[in-house]
């Protein structure tokens, strides 16, 4: 089993005295740095079982700590603190406080499935990452992440109409995360993106002919139309209600 010594030597456990003489020998400075011993008491024996009740984490018990998930992980390559193997290990040991130290990055998993693809024990680490992120939010240890806010808006539209509409997802996401979409459109990259898509940049540069021949009129009209007449699955009927009811029941069953 791997060890998690990096947290045993966290700065608060280090003691260094400016001057220290032992048996007549001056051991001041680096030589007298000590690590406070500790006995782990703050583990939760039932934690692994609890996390397994979150959909996607059913196989977390299978992990044998080979490290393949972390080794292949897209986010680990961006930031070595993003470490699925380590969090799975802590989950199995019930060391919730240690997991919570990384609560601000766990949600960043991009669902690229490299880990799930490579895991020799079919742990499906991607699902475990989502489960941990949901646990953190459900227990109130962290704010709802932007990622969850996005998922909720997306799923809301799916359940209501059977389909989503791009600009509605985008505007509601920015609204629900208190971001100023107008500011982004007027002064930020979003505006430049839209201008380029509609080839207004050609117009600004005086290339009238290029603008006329390249502006995507039908595409823009179609997208504009969808903003007012939302795409909808006509036969969706009460499918949405049945699905919401099912999810509600399942969550109650798992978490009371």
């Amino acid at each position: 089993m791997a060890i998690h010594e990096k947290t045993l030597i966290d700065p608060s456990r280090l003691i260094t005295s400016d001057t220290l003489v032992v048996d007549g020998v001056d051991v001041s400075g680096h030589w007298n740095t000590m690590i406070l011993p500790r006995t782990l008491k703050e583990y939760d024996d039932g934690f692994e079982a609890h996390i397994k009740e979150y959909a996607g984490a059913e196989n977390v018990h299978r992990c044998w700590q080979c490290g393949s998930c972390t080794n292949s992980c897209t986010m680990y390559a961006q930031n070595t603190d993003f470490n699925p193997r380590y969090w799975i290990y802590l989950t199995r040991l019930g060391l919730k406080d240690e997991i919570l130290k990384d609560k601000d990055i766990i949600w960043q998993c991009v669902s690229c499935n490299k880990c799930t693809n490579i895991c020799p024990k079919d742990v499906r680490p991607e699902g475990v990452m989502k489960a941990l992120a949901h646990w953190i939010e459900a227990e109130g240890f962290g704010e709802k992440s932007n990622s969850t806010i996005f998922d909720e808006e997306f799923a809301r539209q799916c359940i209501a109409r059977g389909r989503i509409e791009d600009s509605e997802v985008m505007t509601n996401f920015y609204k629900n995360t208190n971001q100023d979409i107008k500011e982004m459109a007027l002064n930020g990259w979003l505006g430049i993106f839209v201008a380029r898509m509609n080839k207004w940049t050609e117009l600004r540069n005086g290339n009238i002919w290029k603008f006329i021949t390249r502006t995507p009129i039908m595409h823009s009209l179609h997208m504009g139309y969808s903003m007012f007449f939302k795409p909808k699955t006509k036969s969706w009927g009460h499918t949405g209600e049945v699905l919401s009811q099912y999810v509600k029941e399942q969550k109650e069953l798992a978490h009371g």
Partner: protein, 303 residues
């Protein structure tokens, strides 16, 4: 030639419109046949499974059930990696877990939806083209070479991972590979493109967090674009509307927010293949892309 049920999905109905148009135009010009899935619903993309996996399984299975029960097809074709992945995942889940299948069928009866029986398979557009025509078939049909345009073929995450849900991949000669996919290379190569040695074919573009963690997505997209440029690519060919919009969006963001300008053009592989079939750039929606490649394609003699 096998006729298939075509599942466009939400992205191709919205921002991925050029992919839908170029797919339809290409398929028609190749003499292949497909029929759009009646009144389809969203597959749940990458988001709905995070609310509950059964939601996503249900939404995907509903599409397959419409195709088989109401339309009589045994194959659903999806050009979007997200749709393809979700339908394959539902196929796998429902074939390997009788508990899931029972739950699903119970929910379908309650909802008065067609009931999925496990008798449909899903293929990606790339696979359908390879199955029905193959690179040689494409070669015979091209009317205009892509003139050695240097292409980095970008397949993304969901077309290859996790490999468990794609039992037909990695089956030896002729099959698609989940580690080194090559179908897009084969098809575009046959149409006269030069495929560059691109190491990030299956890297992640951060599509799941394209808005919610934009800095990460911009970084991941930059990795892909810069690797393509280093490999000498003039174009990145995409096969997924989410990857495509992600690359375009974060290419602009990298330039305007971080001052990192890149020049590689981003085109759907269907647009490139369509050009090789002699279809007009307008019909293929090339002007609807954000990265403006018309001058480049003109200079190459392709448009």
């Amino acid at each position: 030639m096998a006729k298939v049920a075509y599942y466009p999905g939400c992205a191709l109905e919205g921002s991925g419109g050029p992919y839908d148009r170029s797919t339809r135009a290409l398929v028609k010009s190749l003499g292949m046949e497909m029929e759009t899935v009646h009144d389809w619903n969203c597959c749940g993309a990458m988001e709905v499974k995070n609310i509950h996996p059964m939601l996503q399984t249900y939404m995907s299975a509903r599409v397959m059930a419409i195709a088989s029960e109401q339309m009589g097809y045994d194959t659903v074709m999806a050009p979007c990696n997200g749709c393809y992945h979700n339908l394959k995942k539902a196929e796998y889940e429902l074939a390997t877990s009788s508990e899931s299948l029972d739950t699903l069928q119970g929910l379908a009866k309650k909802s008065e939806d067609p009931v999925y029986k496990g008798d449909v398979r899903t293929v990606h557009l790339l696979e359908w083209l390879m199955e029905d025509l193959g690179a040689d078939g494409i070669k015979q049909k091209i009317s205009k070479s892509l003139n050695g345009i240097k292409v980095a073929n970008y397949y993304g995450c969901m077309y290859t991972r996790p490999r468990q849900i794609f039992p037909e991949k990695d089956q030896g000669p002729g099959s698609e590979s989940s580690y080194k996919p090559h179908f897009m290379d084969d098809l575009l190569g046959a149409a006269g493109a030069v495929n560059v040695d691109f190491p990030l074919k299956t890297a992640c573009c951060g599509g799941a967090h394209t808005l919610s963690d934009a800095d990460t997505s911009t970084q991941l997209v930059l990795n892909i674009i810069q690797a393509a440029e280093d490999a000498g690519a003039e174009v990145i060919a995409t096969e997924c509307p989410t990857c495509h919009s992600g690359l375009e969006m974060h290419q602009v963001r990298a330039e305007t927010e971080f001052g990192i300008k890149t020049n590689v053009k981003i085109l759907y592989f269907t647009q490139l293949l369509g050009l090789a079939m002699g279809l007009s750039a307008r019909k293929l929606g090339v002007h609807e892309n954000v990265s403006d490649s018309l001058d480049f394609l003109h200079a190459k003699g392709v448009v």
